[in-house]
Symmetry: C2
Subunit: 329 residues, 2 copies
């Protein structure tokens, strides 16, 4: 039997463990073109919170009873697709389950000699690609500019700050603990703890770009700090995802006109045509040791709901992953 | 003696007549390269409210005692610049005064046979150019899209709706009186009175673009109505200019991410290099009678403060002008 985690109730405010149900599913066999995969790591991501509300946005919402879909990496147990053989590492969207069947055409084979397979969920996967798309295509970041990244020690933020440094930007980052700030400083980031220092003080020197993972007060402070023609890369707003009612927006949106600002949202999946460019650039940096990453790993599928809830308390440094099985095939 | 209007006190909230002072200035003579101009029309514009707060944004703020600078058209009384002769019509930034001296290089000569000179302050001047830049360069409006224009019977809005119609967009516009709505309907606009109809109801069919002249509730309704990849052309926020304290922003900025929206501010003077393109396109439409305009004309320089204050109550249909002298040279 394989275990899986399904939505048991729509979270009200912060997600609770009781909003999820751990259950077993009977084994099945792959049909032609399909592959049976045993997950090793599954991803927990802030965007999943939106899907749990049941509102369709850019992806369908989860219904109560649905297994939580999402990024996963694992190993092939049985294959009826020419592209995959038993033991191969693959990345999939199989989500919060120990084992699952996927169409081979929906899988991406990973080379464990090039990079640890878990990086396909982090720095070399959707997470890192999100940072790359945001800076490159949405923010049009230029050498010599100053970018502020909130949630800078998080999965996306920690890649964004490093790409920005490697491209010759000045980088300011905020995080929520002294240890995270220290890590960011070791990456060359001018980091501050937003619990100790008001963003408006930390940004008093002005910024050209704001990579927004957080929303709320950080966005308001950034709008004040942005120089003329500044851009906001609207990636996420983790501070707001658990709001039970819509909260007011920033009081200083008038700066958008007077400073000719651009606030632009994006969803990384719209930009898949550039995944190869991302992989070439960031993959080389990772192999050369110029771009590092951290993972916060929680063991056991049964702990996926707690790991997910922990994202909203900053429990992760870098990418949060749940290890659901052994590495060995 | 020539009369002029100066700032007497910084307005608190709504501008009052007591915030301005009508005074006389002694006549002066143009020096080499200068031109003495007698104004016929002077412009009152919402953006002037921001300059009265004394905060430097994209233009310096007014100091108490300063004459209110701004767009004006008039006739040359005496010229010491080769490009201008007595009697010529010119457009200038001489602002709220009956007569003034300007460097000839800062004047633009107008041909009264091509279009009435007052249009250099409206449909064929900065006002019309603002509408053109917003739709063309900021919003990248495309045939077949649906645009919502707030303040649609105002100076900028009434040009924006017509340019959009001529380019094959579906146009929804809001205004604040039945007469304005009727005028907009005569232009082919699907118009509504925002005092009678909630914007969210009027926009329930969805929009691709929002040309924002108003801010506040209209912006919030537009963010909800925008389709994926929609754009907000952030031109102004007349509903907020008299706020005495910063009011909260829209509660639904989260749509920027989920719908991949772009909110972009602009200041028309950054785009002067395109003024020729604007003049070619819109000038032809005006000459051919395809694009019409209205003016709300208040007589007498002494009434400029009241005309200005009236902008915030929707006293104008189309461009608000103050006539400060006769047409005849």
């Amino acid at each position: 039997m394989s275990r899986e985690v399904a939505l048991a109730a729509r979270p009200q405010g912060e997600p609770m463990e009781s909003d999820f149900e751990l259950r077993e599913s009977a084994p099945t066999e792959p049909r032609d073109g399909e592959v049976l995969v045993r997950n090793v790591f599954v991803s927990v991501d802030p965007y999943m919170r939106g899907r749990m509300t049941g509102v369709r946005t850019y992806v369908p919402g989860f219904e109560v009873g649905d297994v939580i879909d999402g990024g996963a990496v694992g190993r092939v147990v049985a294959s009826r697709h020419d592209g995959f053989a038993e033991g191969d590492w693959v990345s999939s969207q199989l989500g919060w389950r120990e084992e699952g069947i996927a169409a081979g055409d929906r899988l991406r084979k990973l080379d464990p000699l090039l990079a640890p397979p878990s990086t396909a969920l982090g720095v070399l996967g959707m997470t890192g690609f999100t940072a790359w798309v945001g800076l490159t295509l949405i923010g049009e970041a230029k050498e010599g500019e100053t970018v502020y990244v909130s949630g800078a020690a998080g999965a996306v933020g920690s890649v964004a700050v490093q790409i920005a440094k490697l491209r010759g930007l000045n980088v300011i980052g905020s995080a929520g603990s002294p240890a995270k700030v220290e890590w960011l400083e070791s990456l060359g980031v001018e980091a501050f703890d937003y619990r100790e220092t008001a963003a408006k003080d930390a940004l008093a020197g002005g910024i050209d770009l704001y990579f927004d993972n957080v929303g709320g007060e950080q966005l308001e402070a950034a709008l004040s700090a942005l120089r003329p023609f500044g851009r906001v890369i609207a990636c996420g707003a983790i501070s707001r995802y658990n709001d039970e009612r819509a909260e007011s927006g920033p009081r200083n949106l008038g700066f958008v006109v007077t400073k000719r600002l651009r606030i632009q949202g994006f969803i990384v999946t719209d930009h898949f045509d550039r995944f190869g460019d991302f992989g070439d650039e960031v993959g080389a940096w990772v192999r050369d040791g110029k771009l590092t990453h951290r993972e916060t790993i929680v063991d056991g599928l049964e702990n996926a709901p707690a790991a997910f809830a922990g994202l909203f308390h900053g429990d992760n440094t870098g990418k949060m992953l749940v290890r659901v099985g052994p590495d060995e095939s």
